[in-house]
């Protein structure tokens, strides 16, 4: 059992309220870093001093926050209206279990039973506005004050391993956080390594913007999770999946937020090949990561994004491949150990 | 076996009008059963005594086929009709039908100016060559079945009414092969399955079997952009796990699988999302019974070219024989 991944994925830190995760990570990394600080936005920034052999300022980023819900109103029947925090497919919410507020009060997401729905209602996606969080309270007291408007709710999904895959919530991006923590636990690198555990990625890549301004890196690696769409499609649909679970970490070339530094992309692919590590290139296209913020915040950095493929991200229960995780950790460590200014040389 | 299949599939017998079928099947089974009777609804029931220690088992294959019934004769002598059972209008245009007395007719529709639509049944008619209403030889209320000769194409047998004459053939061939069985066997050639498993309901309510096994066709998932299903033509008889009317008795399913595996009969497991069989009626009749179904995979069900594979039919006979020869331990 990957205890680190379990601990981090079961922690609650919906965008804007990442305190529990921040405290947990601080405790996990404190023995392995030389200094750490929390910036005004809540980003946790740690420095692990290097041997000084290489003169580069290198940042590795993973975001701490997860998608979730926010309580917006109490109904007379004791249930709560809610708004999304981060992007969701409404279809993933129905009938799922959540934990609300700092007391982590258990609740369920309910809607009209299908028996009472009209035929046309049955054929439509149930809109979020028709769903309620239900903690069992009988009237407007919010469960005797246990839950209040403004509280955030996260999915309540225990971490579980099934063979080589793991199930759980918030792998996006606690898996990235876990890998970054493991990188910090290793012996010093040739340069000072700045680790940023950032806030508010899911609501617009906001924490990383401030963190990158403070760090001003020459090179930044962004560790994230990418949704894997390697699921059966009808036979006449000719679509290749964007990434495959089990074929290694996904290196980005381009997404909606940024075009990656091609020098770093080829360096990562080369490093994977040299170390016999699985790696795949993510099909260029939509989606965005902190890379978009970090690349352009403070005069520009050379950036590269590596993501762990995960099925059903932004849903109550996602699935990652533990071999992918392992290969991603090893790829990043090898890439950091071998990184020199020469990597950034522009050929002719 | 092909001769028997040809004889049964080409015969006339829409739901409710199975007399000719009964007359054809009766002599086929008479030598192999101890008693034979026809119940008030018209089910033909062959009873075969057991050697003892077994269960009361009802095997049901339905004799009826889907058909048409005349509702109105136009002034010009065309016959308007309604359906008996699930008739798809797409299968009708230009096809031929036969009435009980041998009169045949051609089905066509009113003029369709929009070729991208299919008319409902109400805009179709049967032309039996009558000059006008008065001289029409067919009365309102007469029932017609499809008319089509069986075609043999390699291992494939193609005809109307494979649903479920092929089940009747499996029952007959099993009786011929079976010999001794510990079980009290009721071979029911049922009526009115296509209009809601009605004949089997009455028969099962009289027999109260411990175990009910229907023999019927099932759809296949091997057609071009067809229904998604794990059953393929030619891969062996299908043991039904579920259809839209019933969930088969899991113990009986296991037993069927076991018998097939023991004797090396290739088989498939069927999960059918549209349609049901006589097993649905047997399961809930009276005190209820352990119900299941052996299915013969069939393409183009409810058309004039229902297609089965001879090897699946033979496999089905072999499997049913094995099941009935041995104790049924649920």
């Amino acid at each position: 059992m990957n205890e680190l991944l379990k601990q981090l994925s079961e922690a609650v830190g919906v965008s804007g309220q990442e305190t529990d995760v921040r405290l947990m990570i601080k405790d996990l990394i404190a023995p392995h870093v030389d200094e750490w600080q929390v910036d005004p936005m809540g980003n946790l920034i740690a420095i692990k001093k290097g041997t000084g052999a290489v003169d580069l300022r290198v940042m590795v980023d993973a975001h701490m926050d997860e998608v979730g819900l926010m309580v917006t109103a109490v109904e007379t029947n004791g249930t709560f209206k809610f708004a999304p925090v981060g992007g969701f497919d409404d279809r993933a919410l129905l009938g799922k279990v959540v934990q609300v507020g700092s007391k982590r009060v258990p609740g369920v997401i309910g809607c009209q039973p299908i028996h009472l729905a009209t035929t046309s209602e049955r054929q439509k996606i149930v809109p979020r506005s028709s769903m309620r969080i239900d903690i069992g309270s009988a009237d407007k007291d919010g469960g005797k004050g246990k839950v209040a408007v403004g509280d955030r709710a996260a999915f309540l999904t225990p971490y579980e391993e099934l063979g080589r895959v793991a199930l759980g919530k918030a792998f996006d991006d606690r898996a990235g956080c876990a890998i970054l923590i493991e990188l910090l636990r290793q012996p010093p690198y040739p340069f000072d390594l700045v680790a940023t555990f950032t806030v508010q990625e899911e609501v617009g890549l906001r924490g990383a913007q401030a963190a990158a301004f403070r760090v001003q890196p020459d090179v930044a690696f962004i560790l994230d999770c990418t949704p894997a769409y390697d699921l059966p499609v009808p036979p006449h649909v000719d679509e290749s999946p964007n990434v495959h679970l089990g074929r290694g970490p996904a290196v980005y070339v381009m997404d909606r937020s940024s075009i990656q530094d091609p020098r770093l992309v080829s360096y990562l692919l080369r490093t994977a090949a040299e170390n016999d590590l699985r790696v795949q290139v993510r099909r260029p296209g939509g989606g965005g990561t902190n890379t978009g913020s970090i690349q352009r915040t403070a005069g520009g950095s050379a950036v590269a994004t590596v993501s762990l493929p995960g099925r059903y991200l932004h849903a109550p229960c996602s699935m990652i491949d533990l071999d992918d995780y392992d290969h991603m950790r090893r790829l990043l460590e090898a890439a950091l150990r071998g990184l020199t200014p020469a990597v950034l040389n522009r050929e002719s | 076996m092909n001769d028997l299949i040809k004889k049964l599939v080409e015969a006339y017998g829409p739901s409710g009008f199975e007399d000719q079928m009964r007359a054809l099947i009766r002599p086929e089974i008479e030598p192999y059963v101890d008693e034979i009777r026809v119940d008030p609804m018209g089910n033909l029931i062959g009873y075969k005594k057991g050697t003892g220690g077994g269960l009361k088992v009802m095997i049901a294959a339905h004799m009826d086929e889907i058909g048409l019934m005349v509702t109105h004769i136009t002034r010009e002598g065309f016959l308007r009709f309604t359906s008996i059972g699930g008739v798809n209008p797409q299968t009708l245009l230009g096809n031929r039908v036969q009435f009980a007395d041998g009169i045949t007719g051609v089905v066509y529709s009113d003029r369709n100016t929009n070729r991208s639509t299919v008319f409902g049944l109400e805009k179709h008619y049967i032309d039996v060559g009558a000059a006008d209403r008065e001289s029409c030889p067919v009365p309102v209320g007469a029932a017609a079945g499809f008319a089509r000769e069986m075609l043999v194409q390699g291992e494939r047998l193609i005809s109307k009414a494979m649903d479920d004459r092929i089940g009747c053939v499996v029952a007959i061939e099993t009786l011929k092969k079976l010999g001794d069985s510990p079980h009290e066997l009721y071979f029911v050639f049922s009526v009115q399955e296509e209009v809601g498993v009605r004949g089997a309901q009455a028969a099962a309510n009289a027999i109260h079997p411990d175990v009910g096994i229907a023999l019927d066709v099932t759809l296949t998932g091997d057609m071009h952009e067809g229904v998604e299903m794990a059953v393929r033509l030619g891969d062996g008889p299908a043991i039904k796990a579920k259809d839209s009317g019933m969930i088969a008795h899991t113990g009986l399913v296991q037993l069927m699988k076991k018998r097939a595996e023991e004797t090396g009969i290739p088989y498939q497991i069927e999960v059918l999302t549209g349609g049901s069989t006589d097993a649905r009626a047997m399961q809930i009749a009276g005190p209820g019974c352990a119900a299941g179904c052996l299915s013969i995979p069939c393409r183009y069900v409810h058309s004039q070219s229902e297609t089965v594979d001879r090897r699946d039919v033979e496999g089905c006979v072999a499997l049913l024989t094995e099941i009935l020869r041995h104790p049924i331990d649920l």
Binding site: V108, G110, K124, M131, G163, P232, H244 | V271, Q283, L330
Partner: protein, 369 residues
Amino acid sequence: MNTFELLQTLTETPGPSGFERDIAAVIEKIWQPLVDEIRTDRLGNLIAIKKGSGRRRSGEDLRPRILLAAHMDEIGLMVSRIIDFHGQGFLRVVNLGGVDIRHLYGQRVVVHGRDGDVSRNLKGIIGAPPDSYLPVSRRDKPFDLESLVVDPGMAYDELIRLVSVGDAVTFHQPLLALENNRVAGKALDNRCSVAALTVCLEVLKDRTHAWDVVAIATCQEETRLLGAATTAFELRPDIAIALDVTFGNGPGASDERTLKLDEGPVISFSPDTHPGICQGLKAAAERLEMSVQSEFVNTPGGTDAYAMQVARDGVPTGIIGVALRYMHTMVESINLKDVERTGRLLGEYILHLDGQTLSGLAEGLMSEK
């Protein structure tokens, strides 16, 4: 075992329609000490008999008997196809009973191993490709069963060794304690009625009652009211009562169509209930000073009473149950106290059945009350 633990055991044990073996075994263990005889029949119904002390009817060896039916099956899924997609294995499924398919995406499930072999059980998630990978006609709609897959996170070659077409799939959702004595989970429809029936048997345990009590955990209610139909035929009850859940007031469920959680058992007045039994249940509630709710239904159907009423020459029937939110989802919610009250009410009703009850029911139909 308190009611929460009882429901935990009952709801977390799998038993989809047609595959009730495991849940029947669990209930049998719970009921065994409370009854005189217990057995399962060929279809999978669990039948328990607690003998009464009343006189046998003249010319028969039977006492009058009341049949209490609570269906034990739950909605679920069945494997219909095994898919090889780029070497990964996925399962296509069909529904067993009235599954609300809109709720399936993102749900955790257990695939019950080939031939009922528990060691082959698998866990998985229900997923679907995103809209952009689906044909235009399937986008912006609830995912249907042709798009959804069960994903066990496993290679195809490995998967086909463990799973076969026809295997059952159940939902994985541990029972959750909510505020206010409420709980949420899967299969509370109708395991909460099995729990209520258990409470009733506990009430009767050391009491004398004239009538024989036949408690049945019925099978395949969700698909076709099968077990109730066949056992009512076989066991010839004089009165039959179905215990089942009804729609609880909650989000999207209007006041006039639903009953309240927390406010007591629901007695149903419907074409498939006998007015004399409804009155008898209400009178029992009055004796207990228990608050009950009445539900008025215009058409018969929806519970085991529908099948039992027309068994053989007809049976006087009643329906009693618990109000439940979010029916046929994995977060069905009820109040534990409603379950306990339902059991106690039924026990009280049975304790007052006597030699006059049946004639009273018959006369009631001819009086102008």
